[in-house]
Symmetry: C2
Subunit: 412 residues, 2 copies
């Protein structure tokens, strides 16, 4: 029988009633003829409680014990989900990570999946079991210790199972009903996308559309897993939610798929830096060491052997960035005239694989912002994304203007 | 190094503070030179919460899923205890049942321990680990599923580890400071015993001194594990608490070790039963089938082929017992004139291995009750115990009188 993977996040299994509702969704797919692998998170709040206890017990904790403790929430949900399915006369059993086994490396707290041998679960499917309920987020190391995959790791578990079992699709049930062209809270014309390409999803996810763990999208892209995001709080048809899929599965699409933003950015400029080979490394090495997440980088043209270097980072990392630069200057590693921080900016991006084949997207974006008298402070581009830094007070206006300009309220 | 097993129950690990206090006790033993195996229960209340969820999800639950769910509380405590010990610079790690592995049969919900191979933990002790923190109450079946040992099973886990590792002693930390000659709540002269024989502990435990799970005492007796009960809420010396040990380890003792009671008993008499071979089976078979826990049984002498049969059972099982007898009578399996229930009785027992070699204990017991004008309704005796049924309103008086009569307020 074809195999389907269904993943339910913490809010979707927060109570026994919600577990029952999720189980009913599973029952619908079983009735269609699928053998189903269900991946469950811990009931919402449970993992945070456990993480809190570990932190209180031991600020510099042993990550192996952290994993042993925080993985327990998923075990509870897996057992309860299996029981709920059995109550509905659906043959089901629970599997903990070590029972599958989901084998990982020993990087406790953020382990990588090495292997998911499908034999044990396939044998049970062969014996008439219809649903394997698997505790998400956890695996077992070569040393036989419990590992976890990092926060949000249940998405990754789900995609890895879909790849290992060659599943027809991997459905991620969550508390939103899909991926939107932009954030509906700041643009009321935002429209749910029926399909989005993996590459676009990656750009949107890392830009703040926190629907799927980035790693799970990367994994789905590598193994060509058809990934669907949909709400566990609504009745669903086969066409509900958003399908994250390969570019070639998207027949028609807008040039731009969505508009993303990041509110609390800062723009920092090192003025009059001595321009020499290795200067970028001398600047961004110390910033990385200080834990500053540098995003955009722009270097001006050089004049008289000196240049200006501009970069952006989250606004709460500005003090850290300033200290790193001052220390580097004091240590003689770099030399600059002044460091100017603009803490009132935000980033707005348009994302779309269509840009690869359509010229003029950047020009259209800049024109739309000009029409609203919004000044652009920094520009960066990639193959499928154009990002600008602008004044924060224009963020909503810019998102709405771009959404209109690229016609995102209408399907392709 | 010598090995010590220390077990902490739910109230002893109910909060992070209490886990810290328990860890300090472990640290004291490590400092003395012991390698320690710590067995932990779930934080108090956790297992009940999980059991409640399972019952609400599925009234006739799959015991394998029940075990997968309810075993998770111990995993949390084990990890937190290991982290706490590490914070105190005591090399420690946690072990879940399947990691040891603690192998059981497949009787989910009340599994029997088959084997605890000590190699894995001993190897770690050899590498410098000083404390193995083991999640109590759980094991793994031959099919690789998680099993549990039944409520209170962490006591049994502790004793089984002490046997498997040939531990010097098994210390059970709980919320009482030892085993008493009787219940201090009804007899203010009750005295804590320094030592008690396994056999006596078994009689006292099953009679209501709910300090240790009965199975753990049986196991300790079989494998000659020196078992100590002591409080986790007091500073402890090596001589604290009560040592439950073999008879030959008790040099001097009173003839009677303690006075036990059971408050809510009922005495039922079948009057004028036709006395024929097989009549006892015909009566007590249907009672067992109806789930009636028959305790004492007395058969009067037979007259004219008829006899009276008296038995005791918990008072709340009287309706069930009556229905079983009426059904058996209606079905023609037994014949009796009347069934009389006295629901106002209690059971009081004196227990002591000294009875084996001392005559006159029964006579002294009956005299003490006569001195208080307490009428005895039923008597049963075993090798180390004499029990009587009396009116419930005399229970406290009887316990106090017997405690005085056998001089239990004074050590031997």
């Amino acid at each position: 029988m074809p195999i389907l993977v269904m993943k339910f996040g913490g809010t979707s299994v927060a109570t026994l009633d919600r577990i029952r509702r999720a189980a009913k969704r599973v029952g619908v797919e079983v009735a269609k003829g699928y053998d189903v692998i269900v991946i469950v998170s811990a009931m919402s709040g449970k993992t945070n409680e456990l993480v809190g206890w570990v932190g209180e017990t031991s600020p510099l904790y042993d990550a192996r014990e952290y994993d042993a403790v925080v993985s327990s929430g998923e075990n509870v949900t897996a057992g309860l989900m299996a029981l709920t399915l059995q109550e509905m006369d659906v043959p089901a059993r629970s599997w903990q990570g070590w029972q599958v086994p989901l084998r990982t490396n020993s990087a406790h707290g953020s382990a990588r999946i090495d292997e998911i041998p499908p034999e044990n679960i396939l044998r049970k499917f062969g014996e008439g079991m219809r649903v394997a309920v698997v505790a998400g987020f956890q695996g077992v190391s070569p040393e036989g210790r419990i590992t976890t995959l990092g926060r949000g790791g249940s998405d990754t578990t789900a995609v890895a199972f879909a790849a290992a079992f060659d599943a027809e699709r991997c459905d991620i049930y969550t508390d939103v009903d899909g991926v939107y062209t932009t954030d509906p809270r700041i643009c009321d014309k935002a429209r749910k996308l029926d399909r989005i390409a993996f590459e676009e999803m990656l750009e949107l996810a890392s830009l703040g559309a926190k629907v799927l763990q980035t790693r799970s999208v990367e994994l789905a892209m590598r193994y060509k897993v058809r990934l669907r995001v949909l709400s566990s709080f609504e009745e669903q048809s086969d066409e509900a939610g958003t399908l994250v899929c390969a570019e070639e599965d998207i027949v028609e699409s807008n040039v731009v798929a969505g508009v993303a933003y990041s509110r609390d950015e800062a723009k920092m400029t090192l003025i009059s830096v001595a321009d020499r080979p290795g200067i970028a490394a001398a600047i961004f090495g110390p910033l990385a060491d200080a834990g500053v997440n540098v995003d955009m980088i722009v270097q001006n043209i050089s004049e008289d052997g000196r240049t200006d270097m501009t970069f952006s980072c989250p606004v709460d990392q500005v003090p850290r960035a300033e200290k790193a630069m001052e220390d580097a200057k004091a240590g003689g590693e770099i030399n600059y005239h002044d460091l100017v921080a603009d803490t009132g900016v935000c980033k707005v991006s348009v994302v779309g694989i269509g840009m690869r084949s359509h010229a003029g997207v950047a020009a259209q974006m800049f024109q739309a912002l000009k029409n609203e008298n919004i000044n652009i402070k920094v520009i960066t581009t990639s193959e499928i994304k154009i990002s600008v830094l602008i004044d924060r007070r224009y963020m909503e206006l810019a998102v709405q203007a771009l959404h209109d300009s690229f016609g995102l309220d209408k399907a392709a």
